[in-house]
């Protein structure tokens, strides 16, 4: 029996060491907004903040979303309404869609990291696939205490370079950009997510995040343009 206990002790020591090392080396990813120099200057803020655009850059209408990857309503918009919006307006060239991060970290502690993860995917030209994947799997990572590994796994699933993605995520990359997007939303009066703004000929108006509201407003805008033409 003594030999058995020695073998068990060795197995336990190796196992605790391996799992402990894996947990302790989980990374040092920036998970909350950071202070950005010059962010209080509007011109500088507009330079720093960057949305991600889908569709024709020259489309007459711009649909802007301020979203939070961990917000359930944003997931509902992303999975149910956005596909209809894209089909009706973006794919036809009537509008382009622009996504800005507005992570509410007080309520959604993983939202800032998720936003950074999406930007790390954008570095490898797979933003929208990653964006959709995050929303589709929101329930799987939202409650995690440290979803870095899960986010890297998603990158691997999409065929991204996991090493490069991991290095990006376990750093402060894109933290300034996401923080600037957050501040831009604050300056624009965003009070919750998802906030949908529609811009046309320099005029911006907030509409509901359901497809019917967006369709009704854009159809009205485009009909008005046609009448005025």
């Amino acid at each position: 029996m003594k030999r058995l206990y020695i073998v068990l002790a060795v197995v336990a020591a190796v196992g605790i060491g391996a799992v402990g090392y894996s947990v302790s080396s989980g990374g040092s990813a920036v998970t909350a907004p950071i202070a950005v120099d010059g962010i209080d200057d509007l011109e500088r803020l507009v330079e720093l903040a960057q949305g991600v655009t889908k569709g024709d850059e020259n489309a007459p209408v711009t649909i802007i979303e301020f979203g939070d990857f961990q917000c359930p309503a944003c997931q509902q918009f992303a999975t149910q309404h956005k596909p209809q919006v894209e089909l009706a307006f973006v794919e036809s060239g009537k509008a382009k869609f622009v996504y800005y991060d507005w992570p509410i970290t007080t309520a959604h502690p993983n939202s800032f990291l998720a936003a950074r993860a999406s930007r790390c995917a954008a570095d490898q030209n797979r933003y929208w696939e990653y964006h959709d994947n995050l929303y589709r799997n929101q329930v799987r990572w939202a409650a995690s205490t440290s979803p870095v590994g899960t986010f890297v796994d998603y990158a691997g699933t999409l065929g991204l370079d996991e090493g490069a993605f991991e290095d990006c995520l376990n750093s402060d990359e894109h933290a300034a950009l996401v923080s600037a997007n957050l501040e831009l939303g604050n300056q624009l009066g965003v009070g919750g997510t998802p906030t949908i703004l529609i811009e046309h000929n320099g005029t911006v108006r907030q509409v509901g995040y359901d497809f019917a509201s967006i369709q009704e407003y854009i159809d009205g805008l485009l009909a008005g343009s046609a009448d005025g033409a």
């Binding site: 058995l4 799992v19 440290s146 890297v152 691997g156």
Partner: protein, 161 residues
């Protein structure tokens, strides 16, 4: 059979084997559970495509990660085997039956997960394969319990002194 001489039978080798194997399986499952819980960095996967398997819907049963079920199962097998190695429980049919049933369930569950990897997810996770091999070895190690179940004591009787 109860040893009426008072001397405890020697520790069953098969239960010693179960204890070592289930402790190894425990740490394999614990690593995956830590990963599923977001406590680790990206999964270290030398062979196969662990990321695809671990991020698939089949990595969980409802809210429970499959790896957590593995941790619980291996813990139970490890504890049972250690109890079954104590002098008063070495001929225990109850312990033998529980070990055999637990290992059989583990093999069946592992076979189902292996089927999912092969036919549904179409990707392999080296840790899942390792766990499948470990639980299969555990099952073979519990087969001598069949003999013990047929002729041994329940193990619940007080030890003769």
């Amino acid at each position: 059979m109860t040893d009426m001489s008072g001397a405890a039978p020697p520790p069953p080798l098969n239960r010693m084997l179960v204890s070592v194997l289930s402790l190894i399986g425990f740490f394999v499952a614990l690593y995956l559970w830590a990963h599923n819980s977001g406590l680790t960095g990206p999964i270290v996967c030398g062979v196969g495509d662990c990321a695809t398997v671990q991020s698939s819907p089949y990595a969980r049963i409802g809210p429970i990660p499959v790896s957590a079920i593995g941790v619980a199962g291996y813990t139970a097998l490890f504890a049972l085997s250690l109890v079954g190695l104590q002098p008063s429980r070495r001929e225990s049919r109850l312990i033998g039956g529980l070990l055999l049933a637990g290992a059989a369930f583990g093999v069946a569950f592992s076979a189902y997960l292996t089927y999912l990897e092969a036919a549904v997810i179409r990707a392999w996770c080296q840790y899942c394969v390792a766990s499948a091999i470990i639980i299969t070895l555990v099952f073979f190690a519990t087969l001598p319990e069949v003999t013990r179940l047929r002729g041994g004591s329940s193990g619940l009787e007080p030890r003769a002194t």
